[in-house]
């Protein structure tokens, strides 16, 4: 019908074009200037040398050679992957567990849900600073309460798991919310039918609920993997990438490379690599999900 009208009145079409672009203009200006242009600029900058003060000069592939040949960035990628591999599965399991306890219609469930979400809406930097004190070796809350002197943040073996634990603590409520919504969306008839067929609570959970939660699971995994890959605030507050680069995640590396080492070209190379990695992860997860869905409908 819309196309009929358009064919009959070329004037309306022209007016729609003008109206459409006029309405879009301010937002499109922002998208072009502050999202698309910066992506081009960061690619361009990755072929330049800049120390924040002096002139910018073309250096060809030097930055790429330097970033890919020294071990610093390789270490950061490895640390980040390790971090994601710690954070995502653990917070997904805790969130799933909490959600299955909170969807049993027990009185007070809404209150628990509210409490669990609190860390998620607060500033990760401020919470990181609170945890920095809680985990401080001599006058920290945790060590004084348990009467030990554990170097949570300065022992190279403990630092990354500790930062991961703080991030998990922040994210669990978010994951819980989505699994609650997913569980509540499962039609009661399906569960009833499974119960009549003799499925116990364990079978019901693993064989009925988990498969039906796949869309939720997909959404939670995509968003949490992507955000964990970019973690910065908590690392900045807790360890600044140390000790001995054991928590030197990619976002922190980019920051220190640019604003402590004043090598913007190298920082740009790292940003380009991060962009490629995250776009590939997003697209791969999309493809995987599509395939699973069509498989399911066969």
């Amino acid at each position: 019908m819309a196309s009929n009208r358009r064919r009959r009145h070329p004037g309306i079409r022209r007016r729609n074009t003008v109206t459409g672009y006029a309405l879009l203009a301010p937002s499109l200006f922002g998208v072009v200037c502050f999202m698309l242009l910066p992506v081009l600029v960061v690619v361009w900058l990755s072929f330049q040398s800049w120390d924040l003060i002096g002139p910018i000069g073309f250096v060809g592939l030097d930055n790429y050679r330097s970033v890919l040949s020294d071990g610093v960035f390789g270490n950061s990628l490895l640390v980040t992957i390790l971090f994601v591999a710690l954070v995502v599965p653990i917070q997904t399991l805790i969130g799933l567990g909490a959600a299955s306890l909170l969807t049993r219609d027990l009185p007070g469930s809404a209150w628990f849900r509210t409490i669990y979400v609190l860390p998620w809406i607060c500033a990760p930097l401020a919470l990181g600073v609170v945890w920095k004190w809680i985990l401080a070796p001599t006058d920290g809350a945790l060590n004084t309460l348990v009467g030990a002197r554990i170097e949570w943040l300065s022992d190279p073996a403990l630092a990354l798991p500790t930062v991961a634990a703080v991030v998990i603590w922040t994210n669990v409520g978010y994951v819980t919310l989505f699994f609650m919504a997913g569980l509540l969306n499962i039609p009661e008839q399906i569960l009833e039918a499974a119960r009549i067929d003799g499925a116990g609570p364990v079978a019901l959970f693993w064989q009925i609920k988990i498969p039906l939660l796949r869309p939720t699971m997909f959404f939670v995994l995509v968003t949490t993997v992507i955000s964990a890959f970019q973690v910065f605030d908590q690392v900045y507050a807790l360890t600044q990438g140390g000790p001995a680069h054991t928590t030197d995640v990619v976002a922190a590396r980019i920051y220190y490379e640019a604003f402590s080492a004043f090598d913007l070209g190298r920082a740009a190379v790292m940003a380009v690599v991060l962009l490629v990695v995250l776009v590939v992860i997003t697209l791969a997860q999309q493809l995987y999900f599509r395939r699973r869905v069509t498989y399911e409908m066969d």
Partner: protein
């Protein structure tokens, strides 16, 4: 059996809640203690004497936290207004105006959702420096005040649910596109606008990496940057540092408790941040 199972569930939920709340409570308790009490007594002890010295020192002292609160709020409000106006206009164009290139541009918008914010920090810094805006109030606001593809996406979905007859009727009465937006579309979209308002204010109150990079010195510090700089400046002076974190956290806790249901809905429909 049934009774013990329920008790067990509450025990697990309660422990989880205690673990979630503990850092907030510890931060607030410590913020109101004297240095002497902090050094001498258990971290769990009630503040005695109860002192607001730390809060006052943080707000008015060299960290200029009071100023940081104002800068953060003003920046967040300007970003909010800019994003809402631009996104409502764009979302209406995508939802209800049939213009050539609409499909392609919408895909461009969707694909920008894949760009990680961290990647934009370095090029935006270069652009702001070239524009002479580094370490200015506008450098905090401009990059975010025009476009939020996310808001456009959510608003478009919502606008598509508004009955076309309402818009056609207003058209027949001689309303132009702006009239339709102001008199019909926006009033009918209050819930989604409220959601976006919460999301935008919260995420810009919390934002850290960009303000840290683009500002130097106390002039245009935002709350998170002021907290971080206070922590490095008064390292180990935990009563003072916890006063800063308390000031950064409590406004959001209050906001959350007041708008609890809207917040929970906002997170589930948008998956922010």
């Amino acid at each position: 059996m049934k009774w013990t199972r329920t008790a067990g569930i509450y025990l697990v939920l309660g422990l989880g809640a205690a673990f979630t709340l503990a850092p907030f409570l510890l931060s607030i308790l410590t913020a109101f203690k004297t240095r002497e009490q902090f050094a001498g007594q258990s971290v769990l002890a009630w503040p005695d004497p109860f002192t607001v010295d730390n809060i006052v020192r943080v707000l008015a002292g060299p960290a200029e936290f009071g100023r940081a609160v104002l800068v953060t709020l003003l920046a967040a409000v300007l970003i909010l207004i800019g994003q809402l106006v631009c996104s409502i206009l764009a979302a209406y164009a995508f939802a209800r105006v049939d213009f050539p290139g609409r499909q392609v541009l919408f895909w461009v918008y969707l694909s920008t959702l894949m760009i990680p914010p961290v990647v934009l920090i370095i090029p935006l810094y270069l652009m702001m420096t070239q524009a002479g805006l580094r370490n200015s109030f506008w450098s905090l606001v401009l990059p975010f005040a025009f476009a939020s593809p996310y808001a456009v996406f959510l608003l478009r979905e919502y606008f598509r649910g508004i009955p076309q007859e309402l818009i056609d009727a207003a058209r027949l009465d001689g309303a132009n596109t702006l009239d339709v937006l102001v008199e019909i579309v926006v009033p009918l979209s209050k819930p989604i606008i409220a959601t976006l308002t919460l999301i935008t204010i919260v995420s810009h109150w919390n934002s850290f990496m960009w303000p840290l990079v683009v500002t130097t010195g106390p002039q245009w510090r935002v709350v998170t940057v002021a907290t971080a700089s206070l922590q490095s400046q008064f390292n180990g002076n935990w009563t003072l540092v916890m006063a800063a974190t308390t000031l950064a956290l409590v406004p959001l806790l209050v906001l959350f408790l007041v708008f609890q249901r809207q917040f929970v809905r906002s997170i589930t429909i948008s998956g922010f941040k």
